[in-house]
């Protein structure tokens, strides 16, 4: 501790340079943690998916609908104990800058299918019994300042026109990965306005035995193989993993960018430390003359690198952790439960330590091995 004033005095030698280096490290760690969190959030959806739910989608493509008549036929398949369906609406609210997902759902069966969607009973009943009612996540309530009973108009893009809904319920997800910024309304409300264009986007099945999932999938897909809309059936987990898999290259890209940013900042920090050490050749020689050992000099330079790297890292990681929590960021519904995991924080801390070592070790070693007589001769 008695050497701390010496370390701090050296860091204050070029305040602007030290500040900019700390900010660079903070930005690098913020980007690293944020980009990694995008990847972990995408994967989290698959991790928390229920093993007893299955998804039936059009075999051609996820965006192709399925006939409404499939519902009863699906319910008749052995081990299937419940069926519901949903459709992607794709509208925008206001200027559209704050994107959120909107789904047309079959309300009663959907809420039974997803017990992780928690709604106060009175609000749930109000939502179920009003065709233009909408159930919104608490994240949207917070972001837009909405309240129960308020009318909200969405501009349709897939289904053009103004669509006005009345907020009747606010849900709270028991699983963060489900997200708290979805906007769910009655499928019938959509259907009655554009009956010729609306069909279920996908079906969700409840099965009574998770072990029977492969058999159920085969039965369903065989059943519809030669129909007008062949199906592709899988567990919800497989569906979520497939959805996350659509981001495959993006995930790789994000990981690569994150590491590239960290590497670039490593070079910046190392360069700053080298410059700092080079400027102080005479001073280091004097310190050694006074009696500072090579190890002590090494320790002082490494400590300086550590103060820069760790301060920047704490700021960057702290911002990456606190900012989404404060703003409720969820990637517009695509990254529900977006939050920096403890794993990412640990890796971030390891990156910070790596930055300290990599940026400080060479200048510290050079300072430790500085030949005093030659250094003093240059000065004198």
């Amino acid at each position: 501790m008695k050497f701390l004033p010496l370390v701090l005095a050296n860091l204050k030698r070029h305040k602007l340079r030290t500040t900019l280096t700390i900010v660079s490290v903070a930005v690098a760690l913020f980007l690293f943690a944020s980009l990694r969190t995008v990847v972990t959030s995408l994967n989290a959806g698959a991790e928390v998916s229920s093993a007893s739910r299955m998804i039936v989608q059009n075999a051609t493509s996820f965006i192709q609908p399925l006939p409404g008549s499939y519902a009863n036929r699906l319910l008749a398949v052995p081990h299937v104990s419940g069926v519901t369906w949903a459709n992607w609406f794709g509208g925008k609210y206001g200027d559209g800058k704050r994107f959120f997902a909107q789904f047309a759902i079959e309300p009663e069966s959907y809420l039974k299918m997803y017990p992780e969607i928690q709604v106060p009973e009175d609000q749930k009943q109000a939502f179920l019994h009003e065709r233009a009612a909408v159930l919104v996540g608490e994240g949207l309530i917070r972001d837009f300042g909405w309240h129960v009973g308020q009318n909200v108009t969405i501009q349709g893009t897939i289904f053009p026109g103004d669509w006005t809904f009345t907020i009747r319920g606010i849900y709270h997800p028991t699983e963060k990965a489900y997200g708290n910024d979805s906007f769910m309304f009655h499928y019938d409300y959509l259907y009655e306005r554009v009956p010729d264009r609306v069909q279920p986007g996908w079906y969700i099945l409840k099965i009574d035995d998770a072990e029977a999932a492969p058999q159920v999938a085969k039965t369903i897909d065989d059943q519809f193989r030669n129909s007008i809309a062949p199906t592709k059936t899988g567990t919800e987990k497989a569906f979520a993993a497939g959805f996350a898999g659509m981001w495959g290259n993006v995930k790789l890209l994000m990981g690569t960018i994150g590491m590239a940013v960290v590497f670039a900042i490593l070079l910046v920090t190392a360069n700053a430390m080298m410059m700092s050490q080079r400027e102080r050749t005479a001073e280091i020689a004097v310190m050694k003359t006074v009696g500072f050992s090579d190890g002590r000099v090494f320790g002082l330079i490494i400590t300086e690198a550590a103060v820069i790297s760790l301060t920047g890292s704490v700021l960057g990681l702290g911002l990456a952790i606190l900012l989404p929590a404060a703003t409720g960021f969820g990637g517009g519904g695509f990254l529900p439960g977006y939050r920096v995991t403890s794993g990412t924080a640990v890796i971030g801390a390891m990156v910070a330590i790596l930055l300290t070592i990599a940026s400080g070790i060479f200048p510290a070693w050079q300072a430790a091995k500085l030949p005093v007589v030659q250094a003093l001769r240059k000065v004198e």
Binding site: T289, V290, G291, D294, V372, V373
Partner: protein
């Protein structure tokens, strides 16, 4: 009694393809409580002698003993510890750390001791008092005159109560008045505090303040040139 014993010291440097011999068997003693001025032309080996005595450089062969310790046989880490307790070094260009105040500069050698903060502060205040700069403790080097900087440098050299004070051209960058102040201070350290001093200088006026003046030429001590006062 000899505090510094130099025995048959050879020292060579490699300069490009050539070997330059600085000493070829130098032998000399410096007694405890002495104040010696080392004079001689550039390249005569004056500063090298200080470096050898301080353990900053090693002889090619021969022995350098200070207060009974064989300096030339110590490892780098042993030398660092030994230097912090035994040697006070003063440079021509002061070499204060610009980011530290006068007080912090003087305290620097004490950071290597086991003294606590209060004890370090007390010793630092005493050292600054000895050099007459107790009212400049919070000044940074850039806020001090050359003479004041050199006095801070001397305070740094004496704060750990070293056995031996080595000075390399301490008045080389000072005006006459500041030189006089520094030399008076060195005399006082020698006579009043009993410090052994070795001072390299080109300045005959500065050398006159020493008790003994030695002349080095081409790495050899001129016989019969020692002037004792």
């Amino acid at each position: 009694m000899a505090l510094v014993e130099i025995r048959d010291v050879h020292k060579s440097f490699r300069r490009e393809a050539q070997t330059v011999d600085v000493y070829t068997g130098l032998t000399m003693d410096f007694n405890e409580g002495s104040f010696t001025a080392l004079m001689g032309p550039s390249g005569s080996g004056k500063s090298t002698l200080l470096n050898l005595v301080a353990g900053l450089d090693k002889p090619t062969s021969g022995s350098v003993r200070v207060a009974g310790a064989e300096v030339s046989a110590m490892s780098a880490s042993q030398l660092a510890t030994w230097r912090s307790r035994t040697i006070g070094f003063v440079f021509q260009s002061y070499n204060l750390l610009p980011v530290l105040t006068a007080e912090q500069n003087v305290e620097l050698p004490l950071l290597l001791t086991n003294l606590n903060k209060k004890e370090r502060a007390e010793r630092t205040a005493i050292a600054l008092g000895v050099v007459g700069l107790q009212d400049r403790v919070d000044h940074y080097p850039r806020q001090l005159s050359g003479g004041q900087e050199q006095r801070v440098s001397i305070a740094r050299a004496i704060v750990a109560d070293p056995t031996l004070i080595l000075l390399d051209e301490p008045t080389g960058q000072l005006d006459a008045k500041s030189s006089e102040e520094v030399l008076a201070l060195l005399q006082r350290l020698n006579t009043e505090f009993g410090k052994t001093i070795m001072m390299v200088t080109h300045d005959a006026g500065a050398a006159e303040r020493a008790k003994t003046v030695l002349h080095l030429v081409k790495g050899e001590l001129l016989e019969g040139e020692a002037v004792a006062r």
